[in-house]
């Protein structure tokens, strides 16, 4: 009896939900019908294109696709499905660029350890967090050694790097290097010393006022002009300089927001206990300000991660650059949608993940404070 009433209660709940959200008025019902037709049309079209009617490694005749003329849609006019074979054929390039194939295990090694290096920063209640944080600090050196080479490992020049490797390298390293710089800028912008303050303001506002592409151009063309003969940073390093400066200005603004949220009483209490400026900043202000600033910081990181795609304009092969290179190849040309949809999906996974994390933090911050 109770089981039955529970069931009917549940049914009632679903029923009232449907009424409220889909059929509350005749306009609402009409909208529901329109939306269902829209979803059905778009959904079936997309699914047929991307999955049911698509070629993966073989075409409808069962042949392995090795160039675009073997795609089903190029054989039979009735076929229109995607031809994902290009992704399979170019998989190594998408993941590693032109990294020597026998050395690719080094990149995989770095990829696998990346989550371990980041997880300690992301979750403050992680067990053994201290050791994860230690690893975070070791990781960049380890990753550099593994990727570039050195004693015991053959050197792989950055001109061989590409695809996801370049995208992640620029994103992660740019964020990592920009972080300390942005703290200095944010503190400098709130300094009482007019010269320090104005230098920081001018730097931040200048960087935020110009497009990233002009910074990339400047770094690419002008960095060699600024530096002595012996020092000649390669293209990737030049891009990294531009990306780091760019990111530090945006991150500094996010951190400044956090600093502004700290009540004046916190500083006064620390001062009255005899803590000096650096102790107050390090022990009292920054821990609190950064915690508040993390969601906006993550948002700037999402922006940066997307913006790394701009490096293709200065001739680097990031994920999108590799995609364009694949399309320029006569064996695969014209498969635009397959390539762009695939790259979009990769970016989407990373950026959506980050935005979920930022939302999770915002919620956590709210519950922590109440």
């Amino acid at each position: 009896m109770t089981a039955f009433s529970n069931q009917s209660l549940m049914r009632n709940k679903y029923y009232s939900w449907i009424i409220k959200n889909l059929f509350s008025s005749w306009v609402n019902s009409l909208m529901t019908v329109v939306a269902i037709i829209f979803i059905y049309e778009v959904g079936t079209f997309f699914l047929n294109w991307a999955i049911f009617g698509a070629d993966f490694r073989t075409n409808f005749r069962g042949e392995l696709i090795t160039d675009r003329t073997l795609c089903s849609k190029n054989i039979s006019p009735g076929e229109f499905g995607a031809c994902w074979a290009i992704i399979y054929a170019r998989w190594d390039q998408f993941m590693y660029g032109f990294y020597p194939i026998e050395q690719v295990w080094r990149v995989n090694f770095v990829y696998v350890l990346l989550p371990l290096a980041i997880i300690g920063i992301l979750f403050d209640k992680l067990p053994f967090r201290k050791y994860f944080i230690y690893f975070t600090f070791i990781y960049p050196f380890l990753a550099y050694f593994m990727l570039y080479g050195g004693p015991g490992l053959s050197v792989v020049g950055t001109n061989k790097w590409g695809g996801l490797l370049v995208t992640l390298f620029l994103g992660v390293t740019g964020i990592g290097l920009a972080f300390p710089l942005s703290i200095v800028l944010a503190l400098g912008r709130r300094s009482k010393m007019p010269i320090v303050k104005s230098l920081c303001v001018v730097f931040i506002e200048f960087i935020r006022g110009v497009p990233l592409i002009t910074l990339l151009f400047t770094a690419n063309v002008m960095l060699p002009l600024f530096l002595p003969d012996g020092v000649n940073p390669d293209n990737l390093l030049r891009a990294l300089v531009a990306v780091t400066l760019f990111q530090s200005a945006y991150m500094a603004e996010a951190i400044r927001g956090g600093l502004q949220a700290i009540p004046r009483g916190q500083i006064e209490a620390a001062q009255s206990l005899g803590l000096n400026y650096w102790q107050t900043t390090r022990k009292i202000i920054l821990p609190q300000a950064l915690k508040i600033a993390i969601p906006p910081i993550v948002n700037t990181c999402i922006g940066l991660f997307k913006d790394t795609s701009l490096v293709l304009i200065i001739g680097l092969f990031d994920l999108l650059g590799i995609g364009r290179a694949a399309l320029a190849d006569m064996t695969w040309t014209k498969l635009y949608y397959e390539v762009y949809v695939f790259i979009s999906l990769v970016f989407f996974i990373f950026c959506f993940g980050m935005s979920r994390y930022s939302l999770y933090l915002e919620k956590k911050l709210k519950t922590d404070n109440s």
Binding site: G265, Q271, L273, L275, N276, Q279
Partner: protein, 245 residues
Amino acid sequence: MERVIQLEKVNKWYDDFHVLKDIDLNVQKGQKIVVCGPSGSGKSTMIRCINRLEAHQKGQIVVHGTELTNDLKNIDMIRKNVGMVFQQFNLFPHLSVIDNISLAPIWVKKMPKKEAEDIAMSYLEKVKIPEQAQKFPGQLSGGQQQRVAIARSLAMNPDIMLFDEPTSALDPEMIKEVLDVMIQLAEEGMTMLVVTHEMGFAKTVADQMIFMDEGKIVEQATPDEFFNNPKSDRTKLFLSQILNH
């Protein structure tokens, strides 16, 4: 008697607003002075000048024979010896109670962590909440927070304590627990300068009462004289407002 705080013709302006006008004040070792007055009278500003949370512009402030100037070394030295308790507690919300208290001994006095935590625990026992050591400020009641704030100041072993309206932000039922701690402190001979409207507390512990209005010290007297025979009309008016409600 040793003079520990000496203010001479101290003046302060916020832009055009004259907050402190020719303040003269002497505090002897072990003395308990209660400062009262209407809001905006400059009483908080005055005690905040004593540990240089605010800078005065004219006159002289001498603490323990050291004059307060721009000299940061002197400021640091004075702050180590002068404790302060705030109206809003100002505990550090990201640190546990014990970390709040041991922070300054560790970083300012360069004490080993273990020793600093032992001292922190002893002061927590003194303010009667040793069981809260591992909690965070946000988990404590207002009264408990203020007692932690007192313990935090005491952990630096100051010889002067400044209190800036320590009970004004508290719910009525929590005022007593904080005042009890302060009375105990007074009984132990601490030099105290207290801005408060708690006249019962003033009668119990004060050696001297100071009444401030519009940036001036209007009246300074013993509690007996102050409450029973105030000289200035403004003091009378203030007392009648504060006592008759």
